[in-house]
């Protein structure tokens, strides 16, 4: 098998599972070590550079990093990466002086961002320091977009949004046009912006189409609209009996909000089974903890009403059947229909994109699903100076994806405005540095903690359910945060092997606590995977292979469950193994020379 080329930045990046899984590629182990060291502001800044909204994401992120976390493969649960991020935000000092400075004199280029949600704000954050004048338009009176309108205050306090949006909009270079909804892209383009970024989200909730819907309309609410009315204080109460339709995170926010606005019997009703629900496991857990039952395999059939008021809903019972290809189909179970009585129904069965304000004759092409035709990497539309990001680009996702889109679009916009090829993307910044301090001393804490995941303390239900603005999660205190941070395996501290130094003494093989390392005759990958010290069955994890050994064998290391404890390097008599920290910062828009400025 071909020896591994560790100069390819993707190789070690993939070993850092959390960072690889993060759409914005936040250097997770780096900031977790800083939290353990009590360097909260430094940890915050590492996050701020990568994901722009550490305080917000530390409470609300969909955390793709956690299912990827290596710790989850060697014991029960991953490191609580998301909630550690919040610790950095909660405990930092005033970091305003450390934010990237905004130049006093701009570069003369003007950019318009449509929507003040996470993707637009990321574009503004990345471009303003380069001298761009970024104009942010939003129909609401405050910035934040869906972060502010959709996420309930008991999960995310308004001060946190104000603070982190403020770091972008209140430092110059960014002009906000709040309360000003863009009604025509054509008209905006006519205003002569050098580039336009569309970050307008997926603002339309999917409709429920069953008999009785129209008659009981007064008590049926579209989830995302209802949440935003709750957020802005237009809705302050709900009926005692509430049905929430849908199994995603919006449904979880709806049911928990309803519990706080007077809903006594709130239930979530989902077509699919519990496991297949789109909601994150922890959000389901939070709903269940607040006494909200989740009813599965029930398909809405009819809305019941009397005298123009909703009285309940009828559901058909189904079960899941899988065809030969493993595709699921919900088929009627034959059991009698179920009636659930209710005063209000919240419909949270999905979101759609909607672009009524984009004229169809200005050269901007849409695909058959009503989404703009975009280049997946550059986010450029069929109008060269119009770029898309966030939910508006490829359909509903989440905040961290919106941030990643913002970074990518900012790079494109900058390249475009400099007259360069938008496909000519800058590479990530990488560094690989030995952590050796002495014979068995490393500049990271290589003692592997055996603690299990610490639970984040919550406000008691009694108080939490009475006040919709009271934040439920209290966050880790510093001591818990330290212990949780110590669970991190430091996967960015890489095991780097030099075959020319190796004397094949087997010391590393013998000491490795997780049987990662094997010296064996070479072969094809599929064959090698079966004859290692522990079979390498996780095909998503690479084998690190080096040849050039005296016996002609190869060194094979299965990256899958490596604890990064450094024992191989400590026991190596010749320094053939070394622990080297791989730090990768994903590419961002950087200061370059503008074609016009150079003239």
């Amino acid at each position: 098998m071909k020896p591994t080329d560790i100069r390819n930045p993707d190789y070690f990046h993939k070993v850092v599972d959390c960072q690889w899984a993060c759409p914005a590629h936040t250097p997770v182990p780096e900031y977790i070590r800083m939290i353990a060291a009590g360097r909260y502001s430094d940890a915050y800044m590492v996050n701020w550079h990568s994901n722009v909204f550490p305080g917000i994401l530390g409470r609300t992120c969909d955390r793709p990093c956690e299912p990827a976390c290596r710790r989850g493969r060697v014991e029960d649960e991953p490191v609580a990466i998301c909630r550690l991020k919040r610790v950095a935000a909660d405990n930092k000092s005033d970091i305003r002086a450390r934010l990237t400075p905004i130049p006093a004199v701009g570069n003369g280029r003007r950019i318009a961002c449509i929507g003040a949600g996470p993707s637009s704000l990321t574009v503004a954050r990345d471009l303003a320091p380069l001298g761009y004048e970024v104009h942010v338009y939003d129909g609401e009176k405050q910035g934040g977009g869906f972060i502010r309108s959709q996420i309930p205050r008991f999960r995310l306090p308004a001060e946190v949004i104000d603070e982190e949006v403020g770091y972008i909009t209140d430092r110059g270079g960014v002009v906000t046009h709040y309360g000003q909804r863009i009604e025509s892209l054509k008209a905006l383009l006519a205003e002569g912006y050098d580039a336009v970024f569309v970050g307008s989200g997926a603002p339309r909730g999917r409709e429920l189409d069953v008999p009785g819907r129209a008659e009981a309309a007064a008590n049926i609410h579209i989830g995302i609209d209802w949440l935003s009315s709750v957020s802005f204080g237009h809705i302050k109460e709900v009926g005692k009996r509430v049905i929430v339709l849908g199994g995603g995170n919006t449904a979880m926010d709806c049911c928990r909000s309803a519990r706080r606005l007077g809903g006594e019997q709130v239930s979530v009703v989902v077509r699919s089974g519990f496991e297949e629900m789109k909601a994150s496991p922890w959000e389901k857990e939070d709903a269940l903890r607040e006494g909200i039952p989740i009813r599965n395999f029930l398909v809405p059939k009819q809305v019941l009403h009397a005298d123009g008021r909703l009285t309940g809903m009828v559901f058909e019972k189904v079960r899941a059947e899988y065809d030969a290809k493993g595709r699921r189909q919900l088929v009627p179970s034959g059991e009698p229909d179920e009636v659930i009585e209710a005063d209000d129904v919240l419909v949270a069965i999905g979101q759609e994109n909607s672009f009524p304000w984009i004229e169809r004759d200005i050269g901007l092409e849409f695909d058959k699903w009503g989404l703009p035709q975009l280049d997946a990497e550059t986010h450029q539309s069929t109008i060269p100076n119009v770029f898309f990001g966030g939910d508006a680009a490829f359909g509903p996702k989440n905040i961290i994806w919106a941030v990643a889109h913002g970074h990518a679009a900012a790079i494109s916009i900058d390249l475009f405005c400099r007259g360069e090829d938008v496909r000519n993307r800058p590479p990530p910044d990488t560094a690989l540095v030995s952590q050796k301090m002495g014979i068995h001393e490393w500049s990271y804490d290589n003692d592997v903690s055996l603690d299990l995941r610490f639970k984040v303390p919550h406000a008691e239900d009694e108080r939490a359910l009475r006040d919709i603005t009271l934040e439920v999660e209290l966050g880790y205190d510093r001591e818990m945060a330290f212990k949780e941070a110590e669970r991190c395996l430091n996967c960015d501290v890489q095991t780097v092997f030099s075959a020319s130094l190796c004397i094949e003494c087997d010391a590393c093989v013998d000491i490795c606590p997780v049987d990662c390392i094997t010296f064996t005759p070479d072969g094809e990958e599929s064959d090698l995977r079966t004859r290692l010290k522990a079979p390498a069955l996780n095909l998503t994890q690479d084998l690190y292979i080096q040849d050039g050994l005296k016996t002609g064998r190869v060194m094979v290391k299965d990256e899958d469950v490596c604890l990064h404890c450094g024992m191989c390097a400590e026991r190596c008599p010749t320094g053939a193994w070394d622990m080297q920290k791989f730090l990768l910062e994903a590419a961002k828009a950087v200061k370059g020379v503008h074609a016009c400025a150079a003239e």
């Binding site: 290589n446 592997v448 004397i503 013998d510 049987d515 024992m567 400590e570």
Partner: protein, 351 residues
């Protein structure tokens, strides 16, 4: 050495043996030997062998003397009985323990200094008395703890790290063991666990004096050009006589071999030692031929390894002394103090 203990977390798919133990359950404390020491590989091989044999750790007594090698019993079988004796006195302590309780599995670990110099006599007598034990010498040909002087097993003409040439004849422990009647004699190399693990397994199951001379490079003082016990030298000159598989009753016999390619030796407990021949005409049950072959290959500059001699019907010290089957330490007072009538009878027989 490392300051930290080896992390307790292990591979999620780590197999368990018939007793429900993983291999990790047979480990001991973390080694304090130099990084890369061959002795650590031998410890790992002992751990692997005991795991594969489903040995109950509390039924093993591991004994040693003084030296780098004799520190190693701390690094494996943390739940077994152990005894660090005075320098070179492991064999007599082991003999005494074995006499008192014949039911335990005895594992003596020693080095070339401990067995070929200060404890040479002890080594010789424990072998000729046929104590039922596994006696492993971790042989690095150098005094590592005192910074690299030649030991009694250093080959004549080999060079020390600082350049001195050894003029003394080496003691060949394998030759001595064969001559003094060891019923299981093997030589192996710490850098070849595929050979070493089955040899340790077979030795542990052998009901007589089993001796393994295991060449174990000293990375700090004897792994240089001119050494005959370095990783490179041993790899270049290693002549394996056979490859051993230890087949316990429950293992299915799957591999097929051409006739004449395999020799099987059935041991007293029913376990089968299957020897795949790597060298034509080598018969490991012929003691005289084995001694002859060893001398011949040594003269040719080869290091002969593998299972060199086995007696399928061994006898041990307890057999020779005709002791009772019950371990002596479990005999009660009535059996141990038969009374004056019995003494009179003995005295009368001698008059």
């Amino acid at each position: 050495m490392s300051f930290l203990p080896k992390p307790k977390l292990h591979h999620p798919k780590l197999p368990v043996n018939a007793l429900g133990f993983t291999r990790r359950d047979y480990e001991g404390a973390i080694s304090t030997l130099c990084a890369g020491c061959g002795h650590d590989s031998i410890s790992a091989a002992i751990i692997q062998a005991c795991f594969e044999l489903d040995i109950e750790p509390h039924r093993v007594a591991k004994m040693s003397g003084i030296g780098c090698s004799s520190k190693t019993p701390d690094y494996f079988l943390g739940a077994s009985h152990g005894f660090n004796s005075v320098h070179g006195r492991m064999p007599s302590v082991l003999t005494g323990a074995n006499l008192a309780n014949r039911d335990l599995t005895y594992l003596g670990v020693s080095g070339d200094g401990d067995s070929a110099s200060i404890g040479f006599g002890q080594f010789a007598h424990s072998i000729r008395r046929a104590v039922n034990m596994t006696y492993i010498v971790e042989n690095n040909g150098v005094y590592g703890l005192t910074k690299g002087q030649f030991s009694a097993t250093s080959d004549k003409g080999s060079k020390a790290k600082k350049g001195a040439i050894n003029n003394d004849e080496p003691i060949d422990l394998v030759g001595i063991a064969l001559q003094l009647g060891a019923t299981f004699v093997a030589r192996s190399f710490s850098g070849d666990k595929t050979q070493l693990v089955p040899l340790i397994k077979a030795a542990l199951r052998h009901p007589g004096p089993a001796f393994i001379d295991c060449i174990s490079p000293c990375v700090a003082f004897n792994n240089h050009e001119g050494s005959t016990k370095s990783y490179d030298f041993v790899r270049e000159h290693n002549e394996a006589m056979n490859q051993l598989d230890v087949i316990l009753g429950r293992d299915p016999i799957s591999a097929e071999y051409a006739p004449g390619e395999v020799r099987e030796v059935t041991q007293h407990d029913g376990s089968v030692l299957r020897l795949r021949k790597l060298h034509e005409d080598y018969d490991p049950t012929d003691r005289v031929a084995a001694m002859h072959h060893l001398h011949e290959r040594k003269a040719a500059g080869e290091i002969v390894t593998g299972l060199l001699y086995i007696d399928p019907e061994p006898e041990d010290l307890h057999h020779h002394l005709d002791t009772v089957a019950m371990p002596l330490n479990r005999l009660d007072d009535a059996a141990l103090v038969p009374g004056s009538a019995a003494l009179d009878k003995v005295n009368a027989a001698l008059r």
